[in-house]
Amino acid sequence: MPPVSDDTVFLSAARQAVLIRDKQLSPVELVRAYLERIDRFDGRLRAYITVCREAALAEAQRAETAVMRGETLGPLHGVTYAVKDQFATRGIRTTAGSRLMADHVPDHDATVITRLTGAGGILLGKLNLTEFALGGTIEFPFGQPRNPWNTEHDTGGSSAGSGAAVAAALCGVSLGEDTGGSVRSPASWCGVVGHRPTWGLVSRHGCVPLAWSLDQPGPIGRSVEDCALLLGLIAGHDPHDALTAHRPVPDYVRALAEGVRGLRVGVIRELTSGPETDPEVRDAVTAAAGALGRLGATVDEVSLPILPRAGAAFMALCDSEGAARHLPWLRTRAAEYDRGTRRRLLSAALVPAVFLHRAQQARALVREQLRAALVQHDVLVAPTGHRPAPAIAAYNAAITSKAEAISRFFTRRSFTTPAALAGLPAMAVPCGFSSTALPLSLQIIGRRFEDATVLRVGHAYEQTTEWHRRRPPL
């Protein structure tokens, strides 16, 4: 088999699977190539917490033997994947990015791990994240994750390592978890694709929880096709998670080819053209919407006035649930938390209940407005975030005023949290680069269980651009 080049490691996982099946790519050499890149780049990027070096090589050898023997192969056979260190992996430490779980070794696999490995995927390792998937970590216990496009800039979170590892080709594809944007934000800032599935489509069994009514595992890849491939493997009812839907899982990859002709696309005014949105972000998203129009979609503008309130409502609900879960440790082991995490949880623990009820009502309004808009439109589009990735230093500075807290915590979350609050599928797709060479991202939101439509719109747009083929200057 030919040697593995840099071009090969940056191929989509779907393409790698085809080459492996056709005996054009050695799983062993592919794993070695990714391990070499991890050794070369991850000392700086800190995408990984645990690298499963020996196990991955052993699994790759078994995969290669199966290929050469002509055995029946799964759809992910020989392809490497890495997962946010929030998912339980039997015998491999699962830290949730925290000192409090630094030595935690599960005795079971999360359902998503079982499904990906069952499809032939090779687990390369466990990826870095903000502590307990909450966001706002200041001193990462396992190293500061860095954006491959500019290592002085943030990756986005909470699935920080999942975004960085895919962007820097330190794995074939990755899995994150999205509570209010934690797949989409790192995908956005790292210039890759990230999909938050419909709530209830993917099992949360074995995933360290943050907020049960919002949490949803989701794929991050270098292409929409890779996200479609992974989603098809992890979706579907799980008896271990009673809140997973019993609906049949569509063939998301096959559905990509259906195009966008005749689809109705709504551009969310408050997020795309709002006062907080960077002009370069606005222009890139507007251009992307125009591209969808040229592909045959009908594009117009839609107004959803509740959305700028969504960030505060989300944080009240998500963080209060997190604070309740962490209450015992906050009382007895507070000093072991990162101070950013600790202060976020403490704040939420003190929010008066009447305000939580208002946040719950606001959630219902968000759901109502989004669903009404999705009667008139097949998908809605908006920026994934209001600006490109900020510098790490600015992002981690202490909060010195109420106004600063509002701006830093609520404003940007009003972009990704509406879909989460409403339980809708939403995907981040690269749509350009800023004047400072940082990725920009288009968010596509769909109806419940119409993840296939979201993926198909993202794929159609992606195929008209070169953004996803660019490589970070490592």
């Binding site: 609906r247 507070a334 010195t400």
Partner: protein, 62 residues
């Protein structure tokens, strides 16, 4: 509604047996006041139509 003071926030935390350093108290006070300011206007919205959902939608329901 006036902003909470650090002393008031510290008293709330003590009532819940939550230890807070002086540095924590300063930042938590800013964050908590931010929450209250951001959530207070929600009371002015028309909430007659949608009921607050205390549980997520059944994933099998339409």
């Amino acid at each position: 509604m006036a902003d909470l003071t650090e002393a008031q926030v510290q008293a709330l935390a003590q009532a819940l047996a939550l230890p807070m350093t002086p540095e924590d108290t300063t930042e938590v006070t800013h964050r908590l006041n931010a929450f209250i300011e951001a959530l207070a206007p929600l009371a002015e919205l028309s909430m007659d139509a949608p009921e607050a959902a205390s549980a997520p939608v059944d994933p099998d329901a339409d």
